[in-house]
Symmetry: C2
Subunit: 253 residues, 2 copies
DNA sequence: GCTTACTGGGTACGCTGTACGGGGTAGTCG
DNA sequence: CGACTACCCCGTACAGCGTACCCAGTAAGC
């Protein structure tokens, strides 16, 4: 499973694509496709297979055209990824929430999690300087609303949602990775741990790394317990939100 | 800049490599290279160039051998990445710290940050199920020591350091990405924002997304202020540690 | 000295993104 | 209406990737 880096293309060209600023041609045959169709096909492939299965030829096959035809609509693969990103950001739920900042931020985290689970390839493409398309702008606006007017500076507001989003990204990625490893290898964490325990013991694992082997064993055993990923996700998220709460009360003194 | 996925190879073969469990050959010519040499050359390339410059042929050139020779030492590129990961984990400082859990966890975060800054490609390869080599085990052991005996369960201990490490990963990746974009494009965040402001205004940015444009502008302007990355890093880290502190005091009630 | 396990590495296959250029099509202008 | 030309689709080609396969050369064991 590879992952690519968004923002690798020409940012100006990506922006033109994202906001539909291309000057429309007047002469010549009508285009058989649209950028949206190309993007939708690419998202379909990335969703149902994975990011490394996403190639220009594969997208072209999906649309029943030649590979080079895609370059009539998109400058290159990097810009296509930018468009894909913004298009799925556009389906961010943005459900209205009654409650304080904490309830709203929690909802933001859950919606981000939903998005990642629906489009797992996002986990491997999300960049720190994403293209400023309409989808991302709307998502960012919604997220900022959760922390507006609670006493944070603009920079702190941005840092707060970056903190939450960063946590969600890491947590969901761990969970998705683990699930994929289990699916592809056919063995669970517990089984894997048990299978390799003798090898690690032979090396002197428990003597040299007592804490690591104790905690590792416990975590491995608990991993397929009834409360699994949901519990762990909420646990970490609560810590992050507690941290923001601590900042707020410190500022009020 | 691409990134690859560690753990994609055969875990058993990676483990053998990591712990040096290969049965040594008795007959035939002496190998001209060692796994360590191959790994060191690969790390050198990834450090000085980047992860997408790391190819088997490139590593072979660095060592003055043919490309296929590497497959005498390493089953494939995926396993080579595993070995590279564990080898740089092995240089994790693990400085002893006097103080409470918070001072120790802060030190863990700073050392992780150093490691990422010294080997930026780590940011694009780190996986959730890394190979359990000696380097990672020692690092994990050291990190667990920071939160041992402060009243957390084993699962909570693991979750706590995963939380800190996840934060560091995200924060450093953002900083490194930003720096690379500035270097490669030659324009700073502020200049980029100013250059695209008229375009975004034409679209109706400020009307549709008032918060996003206000906060975005502020963040863009502050970004190359004197206190930049160090301040922001500590800010987020303090929030994470506050969150763990809140958990600890809640458990003591 | 023969056998045999092992090493180095050349060649080749299928994959990638995409530069280039050719042939067909449709709207515009003399 | 014919010519022009901008635009469409896309076949070919190239450089690069990971690596399967295979063969020649080497050195240890019998």
């Amino acid at each position: 499973m590879n992952s690519e880096y968004s923002g690798a293309g020409d940012p100006a060209k990506s922006l033109e694509l994202l906001w539909g600023l291309q000057s429309k041609p007047t002469r010549g045959p009508k285009p058989a496709l649209t950028v949206d169709q190309v993007c939708a096909a690419a998202v379909r492939i990335a969703d149902s297979e994975n990011l490394s299965a996403l190639s220009m030829r594969r997208v072209a096959d999906e649309l029943g055209v030649g590979a080079m035809t895609l370059y009539r609509y998109v400058p290159g693969k990097a810009e296509l990824l930018d468009v894909m990103l913004d298009s799925v950001y556009g389906e961010f739920p943005r459900r209205p929430v009654d409650g304080d900042w904490r309830a709203k931020l929690q909802e933001v985290a859950l919606e981000n999690r939903e998005l990642y689970l629906r489009h797992p390839w996002l986990l491997y493409v999300a960049s720190s300087r994403p293209p400023l398309g309409p989808g991302l702008m709307a998502k960012y606006e919604y997220e900022l609303e959760a922390v507006e007017g609670i006493g944070l500076t603009d920079v702190e507001m941005d840092a707060a949602i970056a903190l939450v989003n960063g946590y969600v990204h890491g947590a969901v990625r761990s969970a998705v990775d683990a699930k994929q490893v289990i699916q592809s290898s056919g063995i669970t964490d517990k089984e894997w741990w048990l299978a390799h325990a003798p090898l690690l013991e032979k090396i002197g694992d428990a003597q040299k790394f007592p804490l690591a082997s104790r905690v590792g064993t416990t975590v491995g055993e608990e991993f397929d317990a009834p409360y699994d990923s949901d519990f762990l996700f909420s646990f970490g998220l609560d810590r992050v939100l507690d941290g923001i709460a601590a900042l707020l009360s410190a500022k009020q003194l």
